[in-house]
Symmetry: D2
Subunit: 264 residues, 4 copies
Amino acid sequence: MKQAEIRSDIAWATPTKVVVHGLDLCEDIVGKIDFGQMAFLQLFARLPEARELRMFNAMMVILVEHGITPSSLATRMTYAGAPEAVQAAVAAGLLGLGSVFVGSLDNAARLLQTSLANGDHEPDIERLAREAVDDYRARKEILPGIGHPFHKPIDPRAPALFSVAKELGYEGRYVRLMSAIGKEAERQLDRALPVNVTGAMAAVASEMGIPWQICRGLAVAARAVGLVGHVLEEMRQPLATALYLRTEHEASAHLIPKEHEEPV
Amino acid sequence: MKQAEIRSDIAWATPTKVVVHGLDLCEDIVGKIDFGQMAFLQLFARLPEARELRMFNAMMVILVEHGITPSSLATRMTYAGAPEAVQAAVAAGLLGLGSVFVGSLDNAARLLQTSLANGDHEPDIERLAREAVDDYRARKEILPGIGHPFHKPIDPRAPALFSVAKELGYEGRYVRLMSAIGKEAERQLDRALPVNVTGAMAAVASEMGIPWQICRGLAVAARAVGLVGHVLEEMRQPLATALYLRTEHEASAHLIPKEHEEPV
Amino acid sequence: MKQAEIRSDIAWATPTKVVVHGLDLCEDIVGKIDFGQMAFLQLFARLPEARELRMFNAMMVILVEHGITPSSLATRMTYAGAPEAVQAAVAAGLLGLGSVFVGSLDNAARLLQTSLANGDHEPDIERLAREAVDDYRARKEILPGIGHPFHKPIDPRAPALFSVAKELGYEGRYVRLMSAIGKEAERQLDRALPVNVTGAMAAVASEMGIPWQICRGLAVAARAVGLVGHVLEEMRQPLATALYLRTEHEASAHLIPKEHEEPV
Amino acid sequence: MKQAEIRSDIAWATPTKVVVHGLDLCEDIVGKIDFGQMAFLQLFARLPEARELRMFNAMMVILVEHGITPSSLATRMTYAGAPEAVQAAVAAGLLGLGSVFVGSLDNAARLLQTSLANGDHEPDIERLAREAVDDYRARKEILPGIGHPFHKPIDPRAPALFSVAKELGYEGRYVRLMSAIGKEAERQLDRALPVNVTGAMAAVASEMGIPWQICRGLAVAARAVGLVGHVLEEMRQPLATALYLRTEHEASAHLIPKEHEEPV
C-alpha cells in the first residue's frame, strides 16, 4: 500500500540546533523576539511588521481575561478535583470556548469576509450592510458583532480597538462595513446596536488579512493565558469548593422529603 | 447555613468600563501593553519591569513550539474528528503536558527552590548539589533538568537562555546550583549530564522569584499558542487521517487470520 | 437582584441516604440493577423495560470500541505525556468525537425524526426518502447513515442491529425510512449505498423515542468505556512514543538541510 | 532506522467483519452481551463469569452519578459555552476526576494490594492494618478509604457494596484488611472512621484481582455515563448561565468602587 505523505513545515531539530518557522531558536528567537512576535510567527509562519505587531498585540490583550465566566469556572472546578494536573484545568476552561462565546468572532469575521469577497475596490458598503441584515433576519439568526447585553449603551472595547486601528492605518472597508451593519440593524430593529468588541475584532482581523477560520484560534491562545491566571488565583484563594457545595445544596433542596431534612 | 465567601480579585466590569488587575482595559491596556506584558500581568497581578519582561519573553518563546510531539499529535487527531471545535483540539494537546514532558520543569524548580529555601546568603552550592544528587539517587528518581536523550552533547537552548539571563543580571545562586547539580551528577554517574532547557528555565524562573508551583502554568500558556499553530497547519495540510489509517493497518495486521486478509 | 432558580432533579443525599432518579442507591440500585440499566436510568430518568434494555444494550456495545482511530490515538498520546492523569487521556480521546465521526449519528437521527415529525400514521415513506435525498443533494451535503468507505459491500453491523430490532419489535417507520433513503440514494447516484451502522443506530434510536439531540451523548458514554481499554493497553504495551518519534522524523525530514543531516 | 513495533491487540476489521477482543462483533456481541459485559470485556480482555459480572455491575452503578459536583459543574459550564460539542462538555467533567475525588480509590487499592503483596495465605491482618496506619501517620498523609465528611456516622454505600460482596463470595482478606484499617485508625485517632464507599470499592476490586492502577479507569468510564446525564438535564433545564452570572456578580463586587456601582 502506498502511504500518504506525512509532513509538517513548522519545525525541525538536530542534536545541536532547533529551527522554528525558519528561524534558529537559539540565535534568532530567544532573547531576540518577544511573546507577541512569537505568537504571530507561530500563527502566520512569518514575523510581523511593526504595525502588524501592535495591532495583533491590541487584539490579543483584549482576549486574555474576561473575569468569572463559564470558562474560568470550569477551570477552577477542575483544579479543585485535580490540582496535580494544571494542564487539565486550563484545558477544561478552553473547552467551553464554542459557539456561544467565541463562535461569534468567527461568525462576524466570516460575514465581513464573505460580503467583501469579490474584491471590489469601491464596494457599496451600505448595500452590503443592508443585504447582511436582511439575510440574517430572513434566516432568524442573530447578527454577530453588534449589541451587548451588559455593556450599554456601547461596548467600550470596540472604540478602544478601533482607535488603535485608525492610528495604525487598519481602518478600511471591513471596519466600515461592520459599522454600517450596526447602523442598518439599528434602523431596521429600532434599538441601539453599536458594534461590540467581537465585531471590532472581526473587522480589524479582516483588515489584517486574517482568514475568519483562524479567529477562534487567536481567542483560544489568548484565553489559555488568562485561564492560567485563574488557576493561580484558585491556588491562593480558592472558590470552587465553596461554590459547588452551596450549589449542590441549593439545586437538590427541593428533592429532599421533609422527613429527611437535616436540622440546621 | 453561613456561606463561605466567594471572591476573585482579577477583574471587574461595569457597563462602561472593564478593569483587569487594576488596569483599565480600554485606557491602560489596549494599544498600550503587548501580549508578553499582558501574560505577565495575568500571571503575577502586576506589570513587569523592563528586564523582567525580557527574561519572561525569553522563557515563553522557548515553550511555544516543540514540533511533532504526543501533544501536537493529540491536537491534530482531535481536529481531524471535530474540525468545528478548534478549542477542543487545542485542549486535547494541552492534556498531555503532564509529568513526562512538562512536569520536569516544576520538579527542577522545586528542587532548586527547596534546596535554597533557607535564604542563606552564602549557600554552599557544592554541598547542596551533592545532597540533591545523593537524595535523588537514594530514591531512584531521575534528576530533573540535566541531560537530554536527543540534544547531545548539550541542549543548545540552555546556554542560549543562560546567556540572556547573564545579560539581564539573572545569573545568581539558582543558576549556579543548577549547574553544580549537573556537574555533580556527571561526576557520580560518569557520563555527560549538562543542564538542559528544562533545568535552565527552572533556574531562571527561580531567579525571577517565580514559585515552582506556577512553572507548569507558564508552559501550558505558551504551548496553547503553539498548538493553535498545529491546528492551522492541519487545516491547510492535514496529516492526522493518513497517520491514523496507516497506524490502524500496522497495529492490527498481526491479528487478522490469513483467510481474512484482503488481496492488495 | 432576584436570583434565577438553580435546580437539578437528578440526585439528592442526606448523611445516611443517596437517591438517584428517585431510586435509593443502596437499596434499589447496588446489586439490583446492572450497568446497562444504570446508564439507561441516568439518560432517561427511568428504568428501561426488558425489550428497551436489550435494544439499548445492543446499541451501546457497538459504540464502545472502534480500534485504532484518531480518538484512541489522542488518548494514547495523552497517556504517554501524563500517565498520572488517566482521566485526561480518556477526555482527550472523547474530544475528537465531533462532526466527522460521531456527528453523523445525530445527523441521521435528525433527518429521520424531522422527516417523520408530523406524526402521520401512514407516512409515504418513498416520498419522504426522495425528498430527503433531493434536499441533501441540493445543499451538496453528504447524506448521513448510508455507504461506508471500508465496510463494503455492506456494513455488517447494520443488519446485525436491525436483526435485534426486528426480534424486539423495533422495526417501524424509522427503520423503513432509513432503508428507503439508502435505496433512493442508490437509484439517484447509481452506486451501492446500503444503510451503515450509523444509519441503523439512528433508526433504532428513533424507534425507541430517543431524541436526536441525545444520540451523541450515547456514543460519548460508550466510547469513554472503550478509551479506558486503550489506556490499559497503552500501560502494558505502549505504542504512542514509538509512533510520535517516527512521525516526527518523517514529518520534518524534508526541512533538514543536507549539511545538518545526521549520519545513520 | 529500525522502527519500533506498533501493535494493538484490541480489535481488527475486514470489510465484512469486526472482531473485538477475539469476539465477532456482529455474531457474538450485538444482541448477545450487555453493556456491563462489554465494559468488562473491554477492560479485562475477556468476558466475566456470572458472579464477576454481578460484582462489577455493583461497583460501576455506584460510580455513575454523584450529583452536583465540581465535575458535573464543569460539564454544565462547558455545555453552556459550546452546546454544539457535547463530547467536550463530558470531557471537561472528566478532567476533574483527579487526586481529590477519584484518586483516593487508586490510593486505597494500592494500599491494600501493597500490604498484601507477599501472597501470605494467613496474613496477620491486624499487624498489617497497624503498619498501614502508622506509616500514613508518620508521613502525615490522609488514609484513603475511611471516614466521610458528609456521610455520617457511616457511608451507607460501603455496607451495601460489602453485602453484595459477601453474597457473591468476594469477602476475603482485602475486605478484612480495609475494615481493620478503619478500626485501627479509630483506635489511634479516637474518632469514628468507618470504611467509606471508596474503601469498599478498593477492597472489592482487589478481591476481584483488579490491579490498583486500573481503578481510576473504572471510575472514569462510569462517570462519563453520569456526565452525559448532566448534559441532558442542562439541555432541558439549564443552570450554568444563572450560576455563572451570580457568581461573577458576587466574586467581583468587592472590587467595584462606590462611584461605579450600578443603581439596583
